[in-house]
Amino acid sequence: MRDWSSVVRSRLIALGIEAEREEEIRAELSGHLEDAYVDAIRRGCTEEDAVARALERVPDWTRLADAIRRADQKEGPMSPDAKTLWLPGMAALGCAAAVMLGAPRLLPASLWLDPRATMPMTAGLLLSYLAFGALGASLSRRAGGGVAARVVAGIFPLALHVSMFVTVVVAAMFGDRPSPEALQINFQLRLALIFIVIPGIALTVGTLPFLRDNAKTRACA
């Protein structure tokens, strides 16, 4: 009986992966060649033919090593969580941050002071948040994310809002000039409503059309 372990050891170049895993792979490949050899003998092949038939399974040992190394080391540049949650979430958050930072710079200062502009600006902001929620959820769905991942990716910009809320409240309470109003629960609730609840609702509503699987997602799930 041929020693297939030594055949694999001598022909397969180092895979450059964890030693224990490499040993396991070599043992598995040896087993495959041995099975092919035994099968060929059982079918009436000569020893020489059986060896040749087994080795036919590996036309190129270098290609085999490369393919195994690639398959074993990484599935892709990103983990499934990165593709379905973090990347879509960060895209939505980036858009929200761009709007929050860009709007005060791009819109004229007089507009912010004009009471007639409050409603259209609020509506515009809420619409943009619907779009950001939709963006996060749709990117997550495209990447094969489940419903939970889509919702979280869609409402990801809330992380920015929560951090701003905490910063504003903490600064107002414990800053150089603490505001007595900041200590009142009503103030904090109002702030939470404006900073977290309303944007959160807009983002969540934006995700809704993308929580159902479309035909493509179902087929690729």
């Binding site: 087993g31 495959h32 590996v58 195994i68 398959a71 179902r218 087929a219």
Partner: protein, 112 residues
């Protein structure tokens, strides 16, 4: 039987592996042998085409590999389908069936 182009073979190999693992856990050689036998040799695996695919599928949690002693008394790494693998099998079947239906509608595979 006409040979299939490389890309079609590669695309269908995953489905073929999922299908043969549906009924029982199998080790690498047995997976390749059954697919070759059941497809009359149209789908043929080298080690370079089989094992990278098996390792990827295991990483995706579609299959689980475990060392077992076969009826012949030798240790082999056997692969079985996970729940995620079963879901993937159902999804892949639907996808391929949509694909072939679309080709049929386009020109009629039976006339090709």
């Amino acid at each position: 039987m006409a040979s299939l182009s490389h890309s079609i073979k590669r695309g269908s190999a995953e489905l073929a592996i999922l299908m043969v693992l549906k009924d029982q856990p199998l080790h690498g050689y047995e997976i390749a042998r059954r697919i070759e036998r059941d497809t009359a040799g149209v789908l043929h695996f080298t080690l370079a085409s089989l094992y990278p695919l098996l390792y990827r599928m295991e990483k995706r949690d579609w299959t689980r590999g475990a060392w077992e002693t076969t009826s012949g008394g030798v240790k082999r790494r056997c692969y079985s389908l996970t729940a995620a693998g079963l879901r993937q099998l159902a999804a892949s079947r639907r996808e391929w069936s949509v694909f072939f239906r679309a080709l049929n509608q386009l020109g009629g595979l039976s006339r090709a």
